[in-house]
Amino acid sequence: MLSDWPADLQAALPGYLAAQRWFSGAEPPPAEAVRTASSRRLWSDGHARELWQVLVGVGEAVYQLVLGVRPAGEPAEFLQGRDKAVLGSVEGVYVYDAVWDPELAKTLLEVISGGSQKADRSRPMGAEQSNSSLVFDDRLILKLFRRLRPGRNPDVEVTTALASAGFGHVAAPLVEWRDDEYDFAFGQQYLAGGTEGWALALTSLRDLYTGAAGAPAEAGGDFAAEAARLGRVTAEMHVALRDVFGQAQKGDAQRSWQAMVHGLPARLERAGPALEDAAGPLLERLSAVPDPGPAIRVHGDFHLGQVMRTDLGWYVLDFEGEPARPLEERLAPASPYKDVTGMLRSLHYASRHALVERAVDDWVEMLPAAEAWEAHNRQAFLDGYSSCPRIGELLPDPASSPAVMVGYELDKALYELEYERAHRPEWVSIPMDALERLVAGTS
């Protein structure tokens, strides 16, 4: 048994971190910037097998490592081909990322749930930007936060609050692991049989690309019924969010809207001078909105990849907000239209997604079908949204509604454009099209 966390492993940390997907940065950080903030043994078999939690500070950032320890020479089949998961060897043992160890993963679940959760099987899910996820018995999914931030994790906070308020479209919380400073992990009901909304929308869109589709309502994989149900669930989510977190003061709501509108000209200019020139009438219209309506806690990063279709309907995931925005901005109250337009933007993305990889000729031929699909499902989503009985209380008055919606859609499209320029230049045309449409007032 290790008497304490071996200091000898310190030297291996920079290289190990740089190899992990959840680490922000591709280069190993300088050794002097990396410190072990805390370490504790979570479990031991009394001999050489152990489970540790180690928090590592890198500059301002804090990362969580959950590590397994085995005697040197004891084989571990699950590590084959996963050299990057091994931190190093010391004192006759070797140390590795415990999420890959089917046995230790089960132990982890048992330990952090205080024995209330046990499982027969575990499997790691694909690596993500900021978390590692483990699925237990196809019943429970445990999200292990890698990059830790002080205070409540918004996803844990919102999901738990919505679930306890009786909102049935989030996966039920089952395990919370945290201390006074950080949320370490969050376990929820695993949505067995679920499919991401994005995959489902693309299924519907396939008909377009086989050239067999006529009007989108007549295509085999019509998505409108799904879009309408999703709209309804979105509205119910907003009503529940307001019931749980309340509503911002009227003045605050007004100020947050104005701040967003004031920022638009500069962002439009960065997007393209022609856009800015053409946007004059639109910007005037947005500035003239007398009252943008109530502001509430919103999902903040609402798109088809954040919703899951299951046998029991749609579920909403990941209340962490847009990862590229600072935390306070993500928590700031906003009009529910922020989420609504997020989903509308996502429908646009879905309809153009497969066009991006096509030759220009195909593109021109397929565009009308893609536009028809988008319009059809956009309408269905909005109809579903407004079918929720209490949603009117959360929206601006009907005279201001269209302008507020356009404002948020513009905000989102600009965010997308900046993101695509930085990461996926071949996708730039999608938000660019949207911006042109919005500025021309044809959306």
Partner: protein, 574 residues
């Protein structure tokens, strides 16, 4: 120990349309008897006969005018006895439709009842001075009926009918009626029938302030009937037709003390919808909301039957969708459904027909085939009412489709003669000769299904796949405590050996090829063996199991432990 009907494949047959032995232009019991060898070859376990009783035939025989007599065109009691005996010799059971809710208005009971308000059968039907009672009951045949009450001029009162106005409902509050209908059942069970499909069971009783469906009194009556069957006719089956949501239908199983089987209506349109939408949710949703049924009970599931493709159990919006998709010509629509056979419903695409049958044969329940669908017969939507799907069975390319030696003009309905589905193109004789025909495929599927009773009695669990166009599920035998799978009466003893039976089904609902990653780690180390060809697939490892599926393709895999070293399978399988 499971019962025969839990693993049986049923075959619904219209006697009139199957085979004409006496050359009068209409099928008969003797004709059906002469085709039993074919049905045995195909591999069906139980026939379901549409009504065989005396009737004016204004509703395909569901308007019975004498419960004690066989319809003369079909033959007589001796023909029925002979059919049952010959079927039993071949290991085939027979159940028949029995309409318990109502009779024909030509039935002597009704003729007597309508005379006046004081005759001996005055209370055998539901009479009223006005139309005010039972206002909350919906009208089922919306195309033809305006009210559930019809005025009878002779008696000067209204009589109650849930279906056509020529089918008055029997009054089950009258003990004489209740007793007599038990006698009717006993009569036919004594003759040798293996059970009944009980038509329209939810409507036996009426009570004001209710929708007059699924009333407690109706369940009480079914328990009484079941007790009678269990005491005197063990092994016979009661199959309820209750076109309701599964959570309501499940009531007809009682605590295992009402009907042995019930139809699962809503799963059927959803199989079609899932294929059209190329995603599994229409199916998995309805299966998720299907409650557990008591032990010893079974669902009856089907793709098509003699009625329309029922759309009562879908939402309005889904119904519009189904109408738009599957009933492009308004003539294809009937009441609240679509009146078509399977093959034309899927535009003659054999891949879809096979996929739908693969789903049917592997879903929880006993599959029911509709006569002619095993060869991919078509329909004739220009024939009135439900006759479009009741045309003569197509036996051969000969005159009258080999169905009858009568003059063409004498036939009860013309056989199909169109170039795609007509009997020249689609018939049993040609398909029996062609090993790649859908008929041979169907026979093979039934063989495989018979080897795996788990399809009838196993648990059903959906496996999560990211790709929404792929539906994967596992049927597995619940192992009894001694570790052996439950033996099934009448099944191949090899198939019920002591190893647990686990079958994995993977289906592609899309017209395009699809990949699927299946989380099968629970079965790590096992070998999937494809059941139609017995081809071993790679061993299941710790990673998700990857399969690719052809358009509308499917796999049935048996999950087995790897063979021991040196065994023939290990050498052959590489």
């Amino acid at each position: 120990m499971s019962s025969w009907f839990q693993t049986a494949v049923f075959y619904e047959v219209l006697v009139r349309g199957f085979y004409d032995a006496n050359g009068d232009g209409s099928g008969d019991l003797a004709g059906l008897t002469s085709k039993l060898d074919y049905l045995q070859w195909l591999g069906v376990d139980c026939l379901w006969l549409l009504p065989i009783y005396q009737s004016p035939l204004r509703d395909g025989g569901y308007d019975i005018s004498d419960f004690w007599t066989i319809l003369p065109e079909y033959g007589d009691l001796a023909d029925a006895v002979n059919l049952i005996e010959e079927a039993h010799k071949r290991g085939i059971r027979i159940i028949a439709d029995l309409v318990v809710n109502h009779t024909s208005d030509q039935h002597p009971w009704f003729q007597e009842s309508r005379l006046d308000t004081t005759n001996a059968r005055a209370d055998w039907y539901v009479w009223s001075d006005d139309e005010e009672r039972y206002k909350d009951a919906r009208i089922i045949f919306v195309d033809t009926e305006k009210s559930n009450w019809t005025f009878d001029a002779q008696r000067g009162q209204f009589y109650w009918h849930r279906f056509f106005s020529h089918q008055p409902d029997l009054n089950y509050d009258n003990p004489e009626v209740a007793d007599t209908m038990i006698d009717v059942c006993r009569y036919w069970l004594d003759i040798g029938l293996d059970g009944f499909r009980l038509d329209a069971v939810p409507y036996l009783f009426e009570r004001d302030g209710t929708n007059c469906e699924n009333l407690p009194e109706t369940h009480e009556y079914l328990r009484r009937l079941r007790k009678e069957v269990d005491a005197l006719y063990p092994g016979r089956v009661l199959l309820a037709e209750a076109n309701q949501w599964p959570e309501d239908v499940v009531e007809y199983f009682g605590d295992g003390d009402e009907c042995h089987m019930c139809f699962h209506f809503p799963v059927m349109p959803r199989m079609f919808m899932a294929v059209r939408r190329e995603q599994r949710y229409p199916i998995t949703e309805i299966l998720a909301r299907t409650p557990q049924i008591p032990p010893g009970c079974q669902w009856g599931i089907f793709l098509r039957n003699h009625d329309e493709l029922t759309l009562e159990m879908v939402t309005d919006e889904e119904r519009d969708y189904m109408w738009a998709e599957y009933a492009k010509d308004p003539r294809m629509k009937r009441n609240i459904g679509i009146g078509r056979r399977l093959a034309p419903l899927v535009d003659g695409d054999r891949r879809v027909a096979e996929l739908l049958h693969a789903l049917l044969f592997s879903f929880p329940g006993s599959p029911i085939l509709y006569y002619g669908d095993e060869i991919g017969m078509g329909d004739n939507i220009y024939l009135g009412d439900r006759d479009g799907v009741r045309t003569p069975m197509q036996w051969s390319p000969d005159r009258n489709a080999g169905f009858s030696r009568a003059d063409f003009a004498q036939l009860y309905l013309p056989p199909l003669m169109d170039p795609v589905y007509g009997y020249q193109a689609v018939n049993v004789e040609a398909q029996m000769r062609n090993p790649s025909s859908i008929l041979h495929w169907m026979k093979r599927m039934l063989e495989v299904r018979k080897q795996h009773p788990v399809f009838g009695t196993g648990s059903f669990e959906v496996i999560t796949v990211d790709n929404p166009s792929v539906l994967a599920y596992v049927r597995s035998a619940v192992e009894p405590e001694d570790g052996a799978a439950a033996p099934v009466e009448g099944a191949d003893p090899d198939a019920t050996a002591s190893r647990p039976d686990i079958v994995l089904c993977v289906c592609n609902l899309s017209k395009l090829a699809q990949p699927a990653e299946l989380p099968l780690q629970r079965w790590e180390g096992k070998i999937p063996i494809e059941l139609l060809g017995r081809v071993p697939f790679p061993r299941i490892g710790e990673l998700p199991y990857f399969v690719t599926l052809a358009p509308y393709g499917f796999y049935w895999f048996e999950l087995v432990d790897p063979p021991g070293r040196g065994s023939p399978a290990a050498e052959g399988g590489g």
